[in-house]
Amino acid sequence: MKRIKTYLQPEYVIERLKDRCNKCKICVRECTYNVHIYNPKRDEILSRDEYCVNCQRCVVFCPTKAIRVRKNPNTYRENYHWTEEVIRSIKQQAETGRILLTGMGCDKPHLTYWDRLLLNASQVTNPSIDPLREPIEIRTYLGKKSEHVNINYKDGGDISLETELAPQLRLETPILFAAMSFGAVNLNVHRALARAAAEYGTYFNTGEGGLHPSLYKYSDHIIIQVASGRFGVNAEYLNKGAAIEIKIGQGAKPGIGGHLPGEKVREEIAKLRMIPVGTDALSPAPHHDIYSIEDLKQLVHALKEATDYTKPVAVKIAAVHNSAAIASGIVRADADIIVLDGVRGSTGAAPKVIRDNVGIPIELALASVDKRLRDEGIRNEVSIIVSGGIRSSADVVKAIALGADAVYIGTAALVAMGCTLCQRCYTGRCPWGIATTDPEISKRIDPDVASARLKNLLQAWSMEIKEILGGMGMNAIESLRGNRLQLRAVGLNDAELKVLGVKAAGE
């Protein structure tokens, strides 16, 4: 067969302002895609636009601010239906015959309900509270809550708790760091996440690639994940977390498994996962010991047996059409926490067609799961964590009002560390040193600096959450949990309002 010439034009073009560029060659070093090249013969820096992913690394690091990355002005004729993205995809597939791979979460415009939900505030009645002067409690406990507690009143006024409480996770803010595996990201990223979680009083999730022994010291702030490939899972690992999460699915790719491209499987990753170096790490969609709710219960119990019933077990599923029924099953499978990951959930690598078309918005899934569990009288038996595109403290507050106990943040945490959402995590060449296991590029994340950035984010959002709560006249986040009266919707139809259990603004 003849070689196929590509008809694809570069997506971005580099403009270098000649009067500013002093040929320091920093851009040549910073770009991990080799876009900028220095030609010593003619003493000039050239750019190969076709490799640019618009990550902005060179732009930020150029000391004279000489670089502009622009969308290629040579676009196709405008067409509402046949967009640039559609045409490019077709051409690319026509030239390769392959599945389109992408990274991060669904980037389509029509799926964010957070922006259609507005929060309440107190006026006249139920006066608001100033969080700067009065305490507002946002500490959150995750785990099964007893229906009754029996208290033993002893002579002399001593009291003790008779009821044995289920194991709980204690969070100083209702925000945890979502699962990102060692392999998808590098050890410096894990270090930063673990340290920030420990110092702020929350949790970091290992993802499915195991836990590097150097992080064992953060055990009390780690949720360890067990996925279908069972990478890095042994009894020691299970006992090195404060909780265990069984990953059934993730929002970026419901129904399909994990796939860590071989480029990223270097020595240390291979060793922890116990697979050959350079091989693709495959976790199939199903756990082959779980084909039913009864089987799920079996794994939940096996994990509890292996850890002497001391740790909460979470089950993570992607938000799909029948999430509510599945969630009910998860509670009956004796899980302590349900994690719901919406259609915006991110990933290091997923087929684009799956990422952008499978799953439902987290807002709708959360509302229906919370309602279903309340209707069945089992909401207290489980905590709900939601994830998938949580971008701000406002999203956190709205999620809690819709019924969540806490949220996971993944993308937001990466953005805090430097990520610019270029969506090329699967190449293993993340210019910001995050989604890469290349030892040189990984150095771009300094765990000290990155953990400080993460802590700052947690602190800023926590203060904002308190501000919002105070404005509603609430002094504890408990008062907001599942309190949908604090939400009003704009621009939603009746069906959406019904699922969300929220009134229209003005009602």
Binding site: P284, H288, E305
Partner: protein, 252 residues
Amino acid sequence: MLRSVKLEGDTAIINAEYLDHKSMNRILKSMDSEGIRRVKIKNVYGIRYIGAGMKSNMDIEIYGTPGNDLGIFMDGLRITVHGNVQDGCGNTMNSGEIIVHGHGGDIVGYSMRGGAIYVRGDVGYRAGIHMKGYGDRNPVLVIGGEARDFLGEYMAGGIILILGLNMKKRMFNMRFVGSGMHGGVIYLRGRIDRLGEGVEAAEVNEEDMKIIGRLAEKFCRYFNYEMDEVMDQEFMKVIPLSHRPYGGLYTR
């Protein structure tokens, strides 16, 4: 609970008749911490998770049929079963040994990371799925009889030896052997014509025969076979064609 246990010399005898999995494992763990090294469990009718996550060199003999996930996550136990085992025997085990004198259910040795499982009879579907291996850690699964489809699926390391001793013909009947396999090796005593995608059948070499001989010897010792009976046929092996069976599927 205590009524179910008695000591005979240095061996503890547990009557499992009235125990659930929680109390069973609690008993085993407390015996382990008391320094008891030999345990016999009698009247086992489907108790799950026996030995789950135990890090110990205890020697456990089971009479009856242990339930699913026997020895899940275990680290060092030696379990002998006088009977059949159900699904998930040795699930994600880290080290130790499980010797089964009967047959095994589905996903025997799921995601094994070390140690060995010997099954005298047949096993069900997806045995050895996700077996791992790295450096000198090389888990072993030896099957005396036959296996069902998807043997060694997604295998990333380790060794499976399947003997087919009770087979009438010399041709294994299972399908999709080694689908998605990207490491490790499957040795077969006999032939196979229905492999999974991405693997190839190859001749065994001297090195392979040494490994097979070593495993077969143990098998004979455990289950009272003669080496001649086991080594009387040609062996072959199934290995992955590439480390990246799905590497060519995606475009960026």
